[in-house]
């Protein structure tokens, strides 16, 4: 029924080093350029295997539909606009929650990192909160916020706040105190110290926190949307389950992971731009 999507994957890279010859040093440089390609070999092979398995009837359509079926479903849902709507709703939840959580996390970290009293008063409860499994809070959130958008956004916000707070605070504490001496000698104002020394110095930690928090933002969204949703990706997946539309379930998962990949790439881009001063050192 389904024609094989592509020819067999190129096997050459897989056997390239199988001759038993010791790896030669000069060969490293030219091979590095192909590594990106090499790393695509196994995912493509898996995809092709999956397609073949489905086409030959080894994988039952009801449990795992063929990639081509999922692609056709995606196209259909794109055309009638329902996929775009669902993604839009989910994206809005994540972005709202992220904005709230990021603001709170960074603000708390600055307070804690810059004042002893902030550290004494704010850090202990946040560290305690960190040990509470946040999905355990869902029943409480439903009691507090009902079953509308609020509990979902709140869950995402909390999932973002904690890792961002922990890593940014660690970044601020990690700023070399010698730089504070410099700031004192140069007579920087308190605001100047924050702007020129503390925040840029804590940026590596903040960016680590940003990546972790975006990861947990998506996770929190998926869990929140499973529980009570009337729109969004989670709702799409849940209703598809009721109608045994495995293809839509799989499509939903793929969209989730694509969204995760995109945000991760965004942070990596941000990292590359914000930490050029460190890269200059690494590539010397």
């Amino acid at each position: 029924m389904h024609p094989p999507a592509t020819a067999a994957p190129p096997r050459a890279p897989a056997t390239e080093n199988g001759s038993g010859a010791p790896p030669r040093r000069p060969a490293v440089a030219p091979r590095r350029r192909n590594r990106l390609l090499d790393r695509w070999v196994s995912p493509i092979a898996l995809l092709v295997g999956w397609q073949l398995g489905a086409s030959l009837g080894i994988l039952p359509e009801r449990l795992l539909p063929a990639p081509s079926t999922v692609a056709a479903t995606a196209l259909g849902l794109l055309q009638d606009g329902s996929l775009v709507d669902a993604v839009g709703v989910s994206l809005q939840r994540v972005l709202t929650g992220f904005a709230i959580g990021a603001t709170a996390g960074i603000a708390l970290a600055v307070v804690v990192g810059l004042s002893r009293w902030g550290d004494n008063l704010v850090d202990p409860p946040l560290q305690m909160l960190r040990t509470v499994p946040i999905f355990g809070l869902i029943p409480l959130f439903i009691l507090w916020f009902g079953i509308g958008e609020t509990p979902k956004v709140a869950l995402v916000a909390l999932a973002v706040t904690i890792p961002l707070y922990v890593n940014t605070a660690a970044g601020i504490r990690g700023v070399d105190p010698k730089f504070r001496d410099v700031a004192h000698v140069l007579r920087l104002s308190r605001l100047g110290v924050i702007r020129h020394v503390v925040l840029p110095g804590s940026l590596p930690g903040l960016l680590v926190g940003l990546r972790l928090s975006l990861g947990s933002a998506w996770l929190a969204l998926i869990v929140a949307e499973q529980i009570n949703a009337d729109a969004g990706l989670g709702f799409m997946i849940n209703s598809a389950r009721e109608f045994l539309r495995t293809d839509i379930v799989v499509l939903g998962l793929i969209v989730y992971s694509l969204l995760g990949l995109i945000t991760d790439a965004f942070v990596r881009l941000l990292e590359r731009r914000a930490l050029v001063w460190r890269r200059a050192f690494g590539t010397r």
Partner: protein, 290 residues
């Protein structure tokens, strides 16, 4: 050899013969009333609250200064006066409290007891250059500089230390000597009346150190700040300073006036005797042959 012409510091030093005599303008660097307590934020009730100003013509003055760490005294009743435009070197074994004294003058140590008056514009060059790695070199120099054109001022200062073409570089790409020169530029661009040098050449290789000595002398003659050079290198102190002090047992244990004109040769007779005396005070006894 081409290399001879490529060294910016030597080139600059050779091109500009020292114009100022070093003693001409000592009179009143502090006259503008620009003096200020070192520790800006020290509250009035602190025992070490520095007094208003050093009396006429001093870049820094310290009286009865004591400092203890966890009950262990490091400085005990130290008196020190640095005239404006005077180059003072402070020698001492490690742990003798030289750097502590410098930190007090820089306003970085507020726990000391005694009277401290230092110029409003004291600047420090630390042993490690301490450039902020996330700011380009010129932005490090311009940091906290208020004026109409901080970048131009920073680039000009970098030119003085032979680093004009590194203005846009990231600090982590500089060599140790380059970073230290940038650190000097950062201090001097503010035209300080007191320049505090905390073993600034300690981490540099011997050849770079010689170049840096020339550069520091050149810059000192041009800007004429009072200088306190903290070092453990006796030769360095003898080559550079008007006055060499030895810190031992928490107080100034020895003072040596070096009247020799610069540039000095390290084997000059006057220096040989001074060196022997200094080494003796420092508790080092040369084994006869020099």
């Amino acid at each position: 050899m081409a290399a001879r012409f490529r060294h910016p510091v030597n080139g600059a030093a050779a091109a500009r013969p020292a114009a100022v005599d070093g003693t001409a303008d000592q009179s009143a660097a502090l006259d503008g009333g620009a003096s200020r307590a070192t520790a800006v934020d020290a509250t009035a009730d602190r025992p070490a609250a520095p007094e208003a100003a050093a009396s006429g013509g001093a870049a820094a003055e310290v009286r009865g200064l004591s400092r203890a760490f966890d009950g262990r005294p490091v400085l005990a009743d130290v008196d020190l006066r640095i005239e404006s435009g005077e180059f003072v070197a402070l020698l001492g074994r490690s742990g003798s409290g030289k750097s502590t004294l410098l930190r007090v003058l820089a306003g970085l140590d507020r726990e000391a007891e005694g009277t401290v008056a230092a110029s409003d514009s004291a600047m420090v060059a630390f042993q490690e250059p301490r450039l902020l790695p996330w700011k380009r070199v010129w932005a490090n120099i311009a940091l906290g500089l208020d004026g109409t054109a901080p970048k131009e001022a920073a680039v000009a200062a970098l030119g003085e230390v032979g680093l004009a073409d590194h203005a846009d570089a990231w600090p982590l790409t500089l060599s140790g000597g380059e970073a230290q020169r940038a650190s000097l530029a950062r201090a001097l661009v503010r035209e300080p009346e007191l320049l505090l040098l905390d073993e600034p050449f300690g981490a540099l290789d011997a050849l770079t150190r010689i170049t840096m000595h020339d550069l520091v002398l050149h810059l000192w003659r041009r800007h004429l700040p009072g200088v306190l050079l903290v070092t453990h290198d006796v030769d360095e102190a003898l080559l550079l300073a008007d006055r060499v002090l030895v810190l031992a047992d928490g107080r100034i244990a020895h003072e040596e006036h070096i009247g020799l004109p610069r540039p000095r040769h390290r084997d000059a007779d006057a220096l040989l005797h001074a060196r022997d005396r200094l080494l003796a005070v420092l508790g080092v006894h040369p084994t006869g042959d020099r």
